[in-house]
């Protein structure tokens, strides 16, 4: 709990530091806050403390996810030092809003009451609507922000409606009580409860961009400032899945047949639609948006294959995915700057000639996303498949494996560009810090793949 409170306090401090002229202290202060919060989180390991009449449970599951999100946010802030250097105004707000969003994410990992989940999602979402429009002068950034807000509120409405319906049927917001209530029907739920649960699931599915509720993500990912996109693709997705898992894996599963089938349909649609749309994609940010939808499908697979190890597999997958995604966005930022604002895949052309080490680390990161050994991405996918096959979902696992193979095509399409010759290469400038961070991420992805096969929860 102290971790959440401290995070909020630091968010406010960073916000007010914006009055100071000195932009350079923002990132260090923000990162200090995150580190302290991380230490406080880890101190609670194993305690399983409950707050607010059991509306929040901070157990090992939430701590593990919180720490993983803190690590990724610290990474994003470190990259932010360079990224926000060019920004004249409102830099403090950027850091502060991300910290606030993270607070919402913490609520999402530790709720046991639907109202708490709703609060978490909204505290996470509202800063994101603003962050998406962070480039005030950019038309596309504004468009992204507005689209995200409209579609987001639409989904929130459904989510809230779902909570209302479930409350109307069961007269409770508490997950365990709802589960008991469902259990007494023996699989034949009254329609109100059924629809209510469906709306809740759809609300969360929208947040993690599961097909067919994914339409917002490519547009928003493309229009938002790239660092915000990286935040959305990693931390927000992790938070969404932590919430999803608390709701289902630790809460409502096994659901009645039709509802579970609905979730399986969503899983397969995500894998299929994401892959197909990514195949001929020429914009790098949209490509990663679609690839994120595919990864959502794999995470769904891990979550729906209920087993004691599901949470661990899910955490490993989200963390490894985030660890590869963030530096890829950063490499993209540098390429975009070098090519005067283009976002096409062709801007990577000639990267190997100019910065061989960068191309090599990009290869490692993309290999991890594609799930090729010896990277951690391979191990993450491997564990998901082992889990789902051992739970008997053979057909879906085979389908997912085929989808993983298709994915290699578009990841390697990017690589082909990076390793081919460019006619008029633009000089790529990169700070030592960013270079070091990219290398650290690449090495971490390799080492995790080779030596860390499992994470404790």
């Amino acid at each position: 709990m102290s971790a959440i409170i401290l995070l909020t306090v630091f968010g406010i401090i960073v916000l007010y530091l914006g009055f100071a002229e000195n932009k350079t202290i923002l990132a260090p202060v923000a990162i200090t806050g995150l580190v302290i919060s991380m230490v406080l989180s880890i101190k609670d390991w194993g305690l399983g403390s409950k707050y607010f009449h059991d509306m929040m449970i901070i157990d090992n599951f939430s701590i593990a996810f919180n720490v993983s999100m803190l690590i990724i946010t610290i990474l994003i802030f470190l990259f932010g030092i360079n990224y926000y250097k060019r920004m004249e105004h409102h830099v403090a707000e950027q850091y502060a809003l991300m910290i606030f969003a993270l607070t919402g994410a913490f609520l999402m990992t530790s709720f046991s009451n639907l109202i708490m989940l709703f609060l978490g999602i909204e505290i996470l979402s509202i800063p994101l609507y603003i962050l998406a429009g962070g480039k005030k002068s950019s038309f596309r950034s504004n468009e992204a922000s507005f689209k995200y807000f409209l579609l987001g509120s639409f989904a929130t409405a459904f989510f809230l409606f779902g909570i209302a319906l479930v409350y109307g049927a069961s007269a409770t917001f508490y997950l365990p009580e709802i589960k008991n209530y469902i259990a007494q029907f023996n699989g034949h739920l009254p329609p109100m409860l059924m629809v209510g649960l469906l709306f809740i699931l759809i609300g969360v599915a929208f947040k993690v961009a599961v097909a067919p509720f994914h339409f917002w993500s490519p547009d928003v990912y493309e229009g938002s400032p790239t660092l915000v996109t990286a935040f959305m693709a990693t931390v927000v997705k992790t938070a969404g899945f932590a919430a999803f898992y608390r709701l289902l894996g630790m809460g409502l599963l096994p659901l009645p047949g039709p509802l579970e089938k609905t979730l399986w349909v969503m899983t397969m649609l995500s894998l299929l639609v994401g892959n197909l749309a990514a195949l001929n994609q020429t914009n790098f940010k949209r490509l990663l948006a679609y690839s994120a939808i595919v990864h959502t499908g794999f995470m769904m697979l891990a979550m729906l294959s209920q087993h004691d190890s599901s949470a661990s597999v899910l955490l490993y997958y989200t963390f490894v995915y985030s660890l590869a995604t963030v530096p890829l966005f950063i490499i993209f930022i540098h390429m975009k700057r070098a090519s005067n604002g283009l976002e096409e895949l062709s801007i990577f052309r000639g990267l190997y000639k100019q910065k061989p080490w960068m191309a090599v680390f990009m290869t490692i990161l993309l290999m991890s996303l594609a799930g090729l050994p010896p990277t951690a991405g391979f191990l993450a996918k491997y564990r998901v498949f082992i889990l789902s096959i051992s739970r008997g979902y053979l057909a879906i696992s085979i389908f997912a494996i085929i989808m993983a193979i298709i994915g290699i095509y578009y990841y390697f399409y990017v690589l082909r560009e990076a390793f081919s010759e460019s006619n008029d290469p633009n000089p790529i400038e990169i700070t030592k810090l960013n270079a070091a961070l990219i290398i650290v991420c690449g090495v971490a992805v390799l080492l995790l793949g080779l030596f860390v096969w499992t994470v404790p929860i």
Partner: protein
């Protein structure tokens, strides 16, 4: 780690030295000078030899029979737990001493022999890699590590046969060796899988402990042993998979000496001797081995009679001698087979290195019809080659006499017919070896362009050392008839369970030896009369010969038969599959799948055009469909 014997854990050093040598010479092949690579590689193998020697004395003084050194847990999946472990016992230490000892001598010899070659550094890197693999093969404590070494030596053999890869024929020979070995390896892999399936382990100790409880002649054991035998037949060049070995002479001569005479080709013998407990339970397999071994021994010896390439003669003689070892294995006299393996390693390495020295002196000429009269020009080579020839012919007291005599005795115990056939093969061996010796060293020099000279000391000293071993190596295992103690066999009996142990009556044995000696003497005299007195030079390939002689000269057309029976049908099939199936059926299908997926992708992308009203429409449609679904189903 079991460390009951002090310092025995140092065993890992034995393969580590050549591996280190391989890494240094391999990675630094562009920076090292020619002599440096050779000296380094030789030093590494010599260090391995010294370590093996140390282990030998440690093991002997400890009084224990074996030690297992586990380096790390290699595979651990479900029931399968396979440690990366070495087994040091009397059998493996014998093999280690042969591999590193003979190997070191051949490495040193190669410094001189390969001196003028451009890629000498790569040569030494590959030789060291071979030594490393061979050591894994003989030291591994389970079938899987044996198999790694098995494949490793096969791969190095491929590289080294095709070492002069600019000659397409040599490449073909390398490929042939590789493919033929693969056929054997398939059987070997299946055998290991079946072993694991049966015993739930591939470790030697566990398999043999469990096998001891099984009944002899069980079909499963017979199948396993036959599958393993297929592997051994491929690697040790027995009928029907022997044809690669004569062609393998395309490699540099030290390679032929090390890989295709002294060590790699004996891997099959080692593996069967190692599995003696299994083979004792499979009398059918033992009988097959007797048949195969004897047939190979005689068949290859007959072909050897009319070969005119000095290395080909030696190659066929190797095939033939390996046949004797298989015969011994089939008779259940495993330690005799290993003893013959040992003496053979000495005298055959010696003969090959001698041949190398001759080829070196003749400026690359390998045809014995063009040699002659080298006795005076190359006295050291002559004397050492003579020692080798006497040894392989089985003249007492040279080493080959003791080992071959042991096998012949066992054959006699089994049946006199076996003995007569085996003795016949030995007599043929004696004839073609002396034919070779006389043609090369006696008479007059027949090639005017060559200026033979004695080889440098770096080559002759290994020859001298090997000739000492070839002469006196037999004394390791003097039978009781000559007042010896059969020390070598006793030493091995702790690691090998031989089937036959009984001693023969001394009078029978003396009779047999006397008879064979008389015949040998006669044969040598015949050869002398033909090739020295009458100075008969074997006919050229194109001159008319009798049908039988022609058949022998053409190696009984086995290569051609294999080509018609296997190569052509397979070639036709693969041609058909490539031109008809792949190009016309599979390729278009695969392409079409790709194109279709890509088109589908374009369609999906069209859904996403940034129009908000459509997004809302799609979301609501999705929600409605799901609602209908959950309420109806």
């Amino acid at each position: 780690m079991v460390a009951s014997i002090p310092y025995i854990t140092l065993a890992w050093l034995v393969p580590a030295f050549p591996l280190l040598g391989f890494l240094i010479t391999g990675l630094g092949k562009n920076r090292l000078k020619h002599n440096q690579a050779g000296i380094l590689a030789s030093t590494m193998v010599a260090l391995s030899f010294l370590t093996s020697l140390f282990l030998f004395f440690t093991l002997r003084s400890s009084g224990q029979e074996s030690a297992t050194i586990t380096l790390f847990n290699w595979i651990s999946a479900g029931d399968m737990k396979i440690p990366f472990a070495f087994l040091i016992d009397h059998l493996s230490i014998t093999m280690m001493l042969i591999v590193t000892g003979v190997g070191a001598l051949i490495h040193i010899y190669s410094i001189g022999y390969m001196h003028d070659d451009e890629r000498v550094n790569s040569f030494f890197a590959q030789m060291n890699l071979f030594t490393f693999s061979m050591l894994l093969l003989v030291m591994g404590a389970n079938y899987l590590i044996l198999f790694i070494g098995w494949e490793g030596v096969g791969f190095c053999s491929y590289l080294l046969i095709g070492f002069w890869f600019k000659n397409p024929e040599f490449n073909y020979a390398a490929r042939k060796a590789f493919v033929m070995n693969r056929i054997g390896d398939l059987g070997f892999i299946l055998g290991i899988i079946l072993l694991f399936f049966t015993f739930k382990s591939v470790s030697f100790t566990e398999v043999f402990t469990q096998a001891a409880t099984l009944q002899a002649g069980a079909p499963l054991i017979t199948l396993i042993t036959i599958l393993l035998l297929v592997g051994a037949v491929g690697k040790s060049a027995q009928i029907p998979l022997y044809t690669w070995l004569p062609d393998a002479m395309a490699g540099p001569t030290p390679v032929s000496a090390l890989i295709h005479a002294a060590t790699m080709v004996t891997a099959g013998i080692y593996m069967i001797a190692r599995s003696s407990i299994l083979y004792n339970l499979a009398p059918i397999t033992l009988n097959i081995m007797i048949g195969l071994g004897l047939a190979t021994a005689i068949f290859a010896a007959i072909i050897g009679l009319r070969q005119n390439d000095i290395k080909k003669v030696l190659a066929y003689s190797t095939v033939s001698q390996l046949g004797y070892m298989f015969l011994a294995l089939g008779l259940g006299a495993y330690s005799s087979a290993v003893f013959h393996l040992t003496t053979h390693a000495f005298f055959k390495a010696l003969l090959f290195l001698g041949a190398g020295s001759i080829i070196h002196a003749m400026g690359g000429e390998q045809d014995i019809r063009k040699m002659g009269g080298l006795r005076k020009k190359m006295p050291i080579t002559y004397l050492t080659f003579l020692a080798g020839t006497l040894a392989i012919s089985g003249i007492p007291p040279f080493s080959g006499f003791f080992s071959k005599d042991l096998i012949l005795n066992h054959a006699f115990e089994s049946s006199p017919i076996l003995y007569i056939l085996a003795l016949g093969g030995a007599l043929i061996t004696c004839f073609y070896m002396f034919r070779l010796l006389y043609l090369v060293f006696f008479g007059n020099q027949r090639l005017d362009t060559a200026h033979p000279h004695e080889s440098p000391r770096v080559m002759t000293i290994p020859l001298i050392i090997l000739s000492i071993l070839a002469v006196f190596g037999g004394f390791l295992n003097i039978p009781s008839l000559f007042g010896g103690e059969s020390g070598f066999s006793d030493f091995l009996h702790k690691a090998i369970t031989s089937k036959v142990t009984e001693e023969m009556g001394a009078s029978t044995e003396i009779g047999l030896i006397a008879a064979s000696l008389a015949l040998l003497g006669f044969i040598i005299f015949m050869a002398y009369r033909t090739y020295v007195k009458k100075s008969v030079i074997p006919a050229g390939d194109k001159e008319s010969q009798s049908v039988f002689a022609k058949a022998i000269s053409n190696k009984f057309y086995i290569d051609q038969i294999y080509a018609t029976l296997f190569e052509k049908p397979f070639g036709f099939l693969s041609d058909f599959f490539f031109k008809q199936i792949e190009i016309k059926v599979l390729d278009p299908i695969i392409d079409e799948i790709g194109i279709l997926t890509s088109k589908l992708g374009d369609q999906v992308r069209k859904l996403q055009q940034g129009i908000m009203s459509f997004y809302f429409f799609a979301m609501v449609a999705g929600i409605l469909l799901f609602i209908i679904f959950i309420l109806i189903v």
